[in-house]
Amino acid sequence: MASVQWHARVRKYGAELQRCQLEATPVEQGDYHPLKPIIVTDSRSRRGGRKGSTSSSSSSSSSVAMDPLSSMMEGTDPLSLFAAASASEVPTLSHSSSSVELGRKQRENEDEVGADFEPWSAKRGEILSRFTTTEKLSINLFMGSEKNKASSPSSAVSEKVRTRLEELDDLEEGSQRELLNLSQQDYVKRIEELNQSLKEAWASDQKVKALKIVIQCSKLLSDTSVIQFYPSKFVLITDILDTFGRLVYERIWSMCSDPRPQPDSFSVEDVNDTAKETCLNWFFKIASIRELIPRLYVEAAILKCNRFLNKTGIQETLPRLTAMIRGIGDPLVAVYARAYLCRVGMEVAPHLKDSLNKNFFDLLASFRQIHSDTVQNQLVIQRVEIPVYLTLYSPAIHWILQCVAYRAPDVLLTEMMERCKKLGNNALLLNSVMWAFRPEFVAARATDFIGMIKDCDEAGFPKHLLFGSLGRSLACADPAESERLPILNEAWKVITKVRSPQDYINCAEIWVEFTCRHFTKREVNTVLADIIKHMTPDRAFEDAYPQLQSVMKKILTYFHNFSVLFSMEKFLPFMDMFQKDSVRVEVCKSIMEVFIKHQQELTRDPVILNALLHVCKTMHDSVNALTVEDEKRSLALLINGFIRMVSFGRDFEQQLSFCVEARATFCNLETVIIQLIHTVNQLAMETKRVMGGNHSRKTAAFVRACAAYSFITIPSLTSIFSRLHLYLLSGQVALANQCLSQADAFLKAAVSILPEVPRTISVEGKQRSSEAFLLDFINSFLSTLLVVPDHPEQGVLYLVRGLLNMVQDYTWEDNSDAKVRVYISALPLLAAMSQENYLYTIPKVDSNETLYGGDPKFVAEISRLCETLIGQVLDHLKTLGREEGVRRQGSIAFALFSVLLAHGDLRNNKLNQLAVNLWNLSHKNGYCDTRTSVRTLEHIKQQAQQPELSHLSDMLLRLSLQSRA
């Protein structure tokens, strides 16, 4: 095909715009308009009837304003209904299968346990992790009673076989196993095994064996050797007991003949004789257990089964079991037995508060046992210190008191307190009281408590723990306004005297919350100073990072004003205590998170800036070669958030120098650098805005400085597309600010790095072809080029040519049409350039339209360029003529046709002919989209109605739609 003469269509942009615009018609009040705000007044009355619902959502002013969603739901949304239902049904004591039953019953009975009751399962893990030991443990299991069994088998069985059989029988009968020297892990494993074998025995109908396992397990609870481990042992073994209790209950329940009674609300009459008899059998069996402790525990475990026998069973059994515990001599064993009984009691019959109280009073009555000789001797033998020993009691006493205090009237709590006081203000008890009673109750009497803490005999229980507990309560509930300062003073007086840094920080950490909540920075500063003073010697802070972090977190929760925060003298020194890198970064991150979340206004406060820059630098410096991508991203996000909040108002130079500083500081985080470039570009545009578009000499210089900043910063980025886009953007900014040579340099730089674009880039971890991204970029680059004036020393259309050359030389993917697509998209640019008035210009920048003034030579140059491009495209089309290329051929031909139609002057016969040929080519193989073709034809028809485009109607006749046969 011979070369084509290019003639660009003359466009009158103004007229076209006018023609395209819709006529504006004012909207009357009350008229329907889709964009008018819909006001739905939904009277959400819970009307059951369907009829009511349609009228329930009434509308105002708008005709279709009924919210379709809410009308579907008949006023109540099922999700919120569920939420409301489940809110009252939160599982209470998750250990038992009965939790759901309890939940259901809850609505009927106010006495039941609610969600605000901290369940045992929550304590369980804490106890297990807190009470550990490195000492060797032993399990002594003695199954069955027939000791002389071995002698009975006949002599026919050889000795060897017999011993083997015995080994097999191991857990079955008459075997005594003592497992010595178990490590804690082994011990836990063994207990778990026992739990398993209990379930297995039960499943295989060996009820007696199951009972034996349970008895043996609960017997372990009477053994207080390795006393530090006792609380954990208790937890493990009561798990088994819980399992057992559940199994028995479920079995008896399943024996109740059909129809089965409702699981939660059956009465004794619903239970049939067989079930009753079985249940009775269990109780008789358990009543004959020889040892006290197993009998107690096992009976408590199946306490719930009393419901099968009679209504008052539980009510009668609980006090009896409570009294039975008095028979346990060892105070630790006794207190845990009480805790278990309270736990079961709360689970099965939460309304029976009396036995809970009785438990507690019994506990008080036998409290002196703790200091008895027997206990003391034991401690000496085991080499356990009194304070350590006393802390073993805490979980159990906490639990008992929690049960007692749960929804208890203040009167009762006061009485409890009085009773504790009578007992000589025992510290251990006091501690638990503060733990378990409602924080509001404690807070209201904080001063009393402080007095009591001061008075109480130390008795080996450290006072800082007491203040810790008090602080915990005060953190949740506020004492009276006037008492706050005295409380803090009194408490801190004691805390500051704590010698051991670990104890000190544990306590101080708790009180920081109280201080932050009620006092100003002055007090917090003092507290921080004290913490620093205590934690610095011997680098004690190294062991207390979690606590220190928590202190930081609490301060940040209450102080959102960063100028106040950083004006605290001791805040930064406090931060300096975080010397381990990972912790330090963690702390910095939390500070930044709070800053980003709560800082509302832009800031230029030097105190904040300095401090936060320091913080951010710390975060930045933690980045190294091993840092994972996500971590980098989150750090960069935080730093970006900070940079965005910095503003020096009109002091642009200061802002620029801040950016310079920031660039130096955050050079390793690419995202931050990008943000900085954006900030600087924004700064330049802001300057322009302030100056109203007319730069003074000074601002011009400043804007150039901004451009220079971007120009030297961009190359340091590794991501090629970031560089390209930033070059383009900065070029546009420079252009907007009349910095022509800078803009030129940016764009030139962009063109020059085009060849470096790799063919594939990794997007979200996957290798993707970069082609689409590159095409996008080139297109937006081309549209910018329209307004870029030619460089006086370079040839005409220097940048366009440069770009096209680069495109030509770029190693595109094989079999790719990308190059040709670029050519096709360059045509509209060239067509636009040849217009007398450009579609858009930049104020105060002379584009080529003014430079050349529509010089015929310039236009000819453009046309020549176009012809070359069209020639290239046509050549490419030819190569696609074969086999698999036809589809692509069609689409490219159509694209070129569209460009010709839009931008070419089709009065020219040759161009017209070319267009028709392209149309036919695109339709030749039937791969074109018929819908698009039809639309195009319609468009042409419409265009042809304009006088200056009437020639199109002739062409229209020559364009035929090819039906897809």
């Binding site: 067989t274 006290l292 008895s372």
Partner: protein
């Protein structure tokens, strides 16, 4: 060919009073039809007496010189000779627990030397070449609760070195004082034994406090009579050095079968006692004995 014979009583707990009717079914399970020459039920109540080797010679004990005393023995026919079809066949029966003459039905009691047992036996006679089948099932006879009220008979007790008998060296005993009371020694068998016990003081730490339930069985025979006390059960009520001054509950459930209302007959007696056993840490064993009188109200 296997035939399984079984007796199922209607009452799950198998407890019957005198003059009541034992109702239930005889269950015959078989794959094929069973030919038989009649199925009958026999109710039998026996008192087995055994002499302990302690009171009489080993040989006498072994040869069990005392004859069992039959309390009841009656028989009814459940099915006439014929054929039972294959599968599961249930034949209902009702059998009154009625004594003939002026014999007294004692309560079921399982002891060491005295055993009072009631059984229901089902026999299926079969023609030649097939073994007769038989199945025994124990049921429990319990006396009609007496109408009369039991006089509560609380007992207070004090145990100290001075109150002890059978002490060889009273001086070597550590000092201690335990007070307590039993709510009753005339106990209702269905109610637990209750009471309280307070360790007022003790020089040596207490290791354990236990309640020991003891049966005292007396068998009369030609050579005189033998009286033996054996332990039924031992219930620990205190473990370790319990808190002084705090009352510890005494609570014991009377086990079924192994206890019955105190029994005195011409041939044998069954009585019960309870021991409070205090074990001190230096392994001193202190026992206080309380005879009990059990009854059913």
């Amino acid at each position: 060919m296997s035939v399984i014979l079984d007796i199922r009583l209607k009452r799950a707990n198998k407890v019957y009073h005198e003059a009541e009717v034992l109702a239930g079914v005889v269950v015959i399970t078989s794959k094929e039809a069973v030919q038989h020459q009649g199925i009958s039920l026999t109710m039998e109540g026996l008192v087995n007496l055994q002499l302990s080797s302690k009171s009489v010679g080993v040989f006498e004990a072994f040869y069990n010189s005392v004859k069992p005393i039959q309390l009841i023995n009656s028989n009814i026919e459940v099915a006439k000779p014929g054929k039972v079809p294959g599968g599961k066949t249930e034949i209902p029966f009702e059998f009154p627990l009625q004594v003939k003459g002026n014999k007294v039905l004692y309560e079921t009691y399982h002891g060491v030397f005295v055993n009072i047992q009631y059984t229901l036996r089902c026999d299926m006679r079969r023609p030649l070449l097939a073994k007769d089948l038989s199945k025994t099932c124990e049921f429990i006879h319990v006396l009609q609760p007496q109408k009369s009220k039991v006089q509560p008979s609380p007992v207070d007790f004090t145990i100290s070195p001075e109150t002890l008998q059978n002490v060889k060296e009273r001086n070597s005993l550590p000092k201690f004082l335990v007070r307590g009371h039993l709510d009753a020694t005339n106990c209702v068998i269905t109610q637990p034994l209750t009471g309280e016990l307070v360790v007022e003081s003790s020089e040596v730490a207490i290791k354990s406090i236990e309640l020991q339930l003891v049966r005292v069985e007396t068998c009369g025979c030609a050579e005189g009579y033998a009286r033996d006390a054996t332990e039924i059960q031992n219930i620990q009520i205190a473990e370790g050095d319990v808190c002084h001054g705090l009352p510890i509950p005494i609570y014991m459930v009377f086990p079924r079968l192994f206890t019955c209302p105190t029994l005195e007959t011409t041939n044998f007696n069954v009585e019960f006692e309870m021991n409070v056993v205090i074990v001190l840490h230096d392994d001193h064993l202190i026992t206080e004995n309380f005879p009990l009188k059990l009854c059913r109200v």
